[in-house]
């Protein structure tokens, strides 16, 4: 038996941890990418803010997207709700509010992780090294927590809400990453196919831990094949279709195979993706395609809320 309130908490705790670890991935890769740029090139930190969709908030607070500003905003800012620091401390306070549901090992890890970023911000170590190191730790700890969830929690409804939250968040972040690569990293269309373009694609793959998979399965870097991996691959755990398949699977486990509105929306989305090729997506227009995707993700999120969480939906009796 899973309380609606607890289901909601699990879902969001999972999303926040996944969100933090995605931002950490993006930060780490951007840092690496900028290190690799020849000295004449301008460093590119603005696109990282674009991924979050919160450029307006950033500009109002920091002005120019310099390296230090962007690092601080995304890692430490205690007021910005999507900073790594805030995501993790939110996850921590949610976990504190459902100690009875989270296994002890998991709780300890989430508890420690939620305190780490604010604690590190008080250290006097060198700023960049510190951020870089934190990114790696957060990525690793998020995976550790995931492993604990997978090894310590029974495959009941709670576990599957955890899984739905994680994969929905991940699908969303992968789509944003793609969006940014297309529209912000290389705005100059003439530069497509240059070494810089390749380097950027390679960095995008890196932040998904997908570069080796790509090279093994698809060879040299070609944009539409990268899109194929990021969107349509059913075997790579960060590809959008993979994530959506996982969401559908868990939704059915939650409802014991009964279909519902959230199931329907995600299944439709999967069918749509299955019927497309990467080339078609690009032809269709990447911008519109990604906008559509993100609208659908929001729809799924709302449907989950209405179906499982909001009191109106659950007064129907046993």
């Amino acid at each position: 038996m899973l309380l609606s309130r607890v289901a909601d908490n699990i879902y969001w705790m999972s999303r926040y941890i996944e969100r933090a670890s995605n931002i950490a991935r993006f930060l780490e890769v951007s840092y690496q990418l900028n290190l690799d740029q020849s000295s004449g090139d301008q460093e590119q930190w603005g696109p990282l803010i674009e991924i979050t969709g919160d450029m307006a908030i950033f500009k109002a607070r920091y002005g120019a997207p310099t390296r230090d500003n962007v690092m601080h905003f995304l890692m430490f800012n205690p007021e910005y709700p999507n900073s790594i620091s805030r995501c993790l401390s939110t996850a921590r306070s949610i976990a504190k509010g459902m100690r009875e549901t989270v296994s002890d090992d998991m709780f300890r890890e989430i508890n420690a992780l939620g305190k780490r970023v604010p604690e590190t911000s008080r250290e006097k170590a060198q700023f960049h090294t510190r951020v870089f190191q934190l990114c790696r730790e957060i990525k690793r700890d998020a995976m550790l927590i995931e492993a604990m969830a997978s090894e310590t929690i029974e495959r009941g409804q709670g576990y599957h809400f955890w899984r739905v939250g994680r994969y929905l968040e991940r699908a969303d972040k992968t789509s944003r990453l793609l969006h940014v690569k297309y529209f912000h990293l290389l705005p100059d269309l003439d530069a497509v196919g240059t070494p810089m373009d390749d380097l950027q694609w390679s960095a995008v793959l890196d932040s998904m831990d997908a570069r080796e998979t790509y090279i093994r399965t698809r060879g040299l870097i070609v944009p539409d094949k990268v899109v194929d991996l990021m969107v349509l691959d059913q075997g790579h755990p960060r590809a959008i279709l993979f994530c959506l398949n996982a969401v559908v699977e868990s939704l059915y486990r939650i409802t014991r195979d009964k279909p519902g509105e959230p199931h329907r929306i995600v299944e439709q989305l999967c069918e749509k993706l299955l019927a497309m090729s990467a080339k078609e997506i690009i032809k269709f227009g990447m911008n519109e395609f990604i906008d559509d995707l993100q609208l659908s993700f929001n729809e799924v999120n709302n449907a989950i809320h209405t179906h499982f969480i909001s009191p109106k939906a659950v007064t129907g009796g046993v």
Partner: protein, 485 residues
Amino acid sequence: MNFEAYETEAFFDELFDNQGHSRESAKLLVNAIESLAEGDLLKRQEASERAMHSMGITFNVYGSGEGTERTIPFDIVPRIIDGKEWDVVEAGLKQRIKAVNRFIDDIYHDRNIIADGVIPEWIFTSSKGYLPQCQGLNPPKGVWAHVTGTDLVRDNKGTFYVLEDNLRVPSGVSYVLLNRTLMKRNFPEVFHKSRVRRVVDYPDQFMKMLHHVAPEGIDRPNVAVLTPGIYNSAYFEHAFLAQQMGALLVEGHDLVYDGKYVCARTVEGLVRIDIIYRRIDDEFLDPEVFREDSYLGCAGMMKAFREGTLTLANAPGTGVADDKVVYAFVPDMIKYYLGEDPLLPSVPTHLCCDDESLEYTLDNLDKLVVKPASESGGYGMLIGPKASQKERDNFARALRKDPRNYISQPTLSLSRAPVVVNDHFEGRHVDLRPFILHRGDDSYVLPGGLTRVALKKGSLVVNSSQGGGTKDTWVVDQGTGQEVA
């Protein structure tokens, strides 16, 4: 670190006799501590405190705003109680809880104890914990107080006295279980040899007791722990118990009354709840019956309780016996209902409503402890010998104004136990809160209980809300253990 310089002074010490020798039951422990390498004990103490932080065993401090998290200070030297002595305490507690439950049931039915002139009627009509709404109700198996946390103290002769009965929502048992976990980690060898009675099965005992008092005809009852939520100072305990018992942890807004049953809102719709172990006070349970502005409970809960579709533990109304005036009559209740002499003495109590006692209290304010009848948590009391003249004058005024609300007791010279203070041991006053689970025909008493310790030098107030700490409590059975060793 050793006990060579440790002074018991004029107090009864839990580990040492007045010659400074360790008590028989504490020998193994004292030897083990003294054989540790220098600094080792402190290291273990610090490791325990770190463990509490990482496990999130923190409580929120009232009135200090969000985000103030503290752990209750934990002292690593356990308090030891001899098994044979404990057996007497245990029998005394069982006897007491049985009588008190009979009393509550009597008060809400025929009131024979009043008709027979044992207790004056005004005692309960003026008690804040008496709920007219509970008149005539019949909780399953006649149990009203399912969980009790009775506070015991020892005087300078080592005699155990009952200080008060916490019959409403006593807290602290999670610390008993967690302290034990930490101690097993810290002193595995001596723990094993000491033959310490186990506490680990408390959640199972609890669940068994609840199943026993389930509504009629329910085979596998759905059990929930009702918490006011994360900002409550005892939230950790609520979550811990729910987790350990395999119960649902619910807040008021998770519940809804469907006209017959109290149900939980789940992802699959409404699911009936059969038993609620509630950790909120009576007045917040049901806004239709008690406080209208309460959002901690659920409207309709009292209907379900009245109709018997829901068991509430503890039952509403138990507070009538959790009143320091009523406390004074518990020995009479034991005689009246059970025809037995009390096995555990109560502290001699003067009821200030009685003119003679009031005068005596006023004349001896510098020697007595004065307590409000219906407060808990150590709030609002006067410890005469420690108070200033001004505080005593203020209390005298309050006493004259509302004598019914006060009792006075002699200031007991509470027993002490050694605690770690930096690099040495010092004696601090302790009390003991055993937990009793009552199921009607029988009771279970958690061996030992929560030892609370007044960490401030000389202080007699052990409440965690007032700077007290805790210790693990070992009830040890001697004889066989040392042969094994």
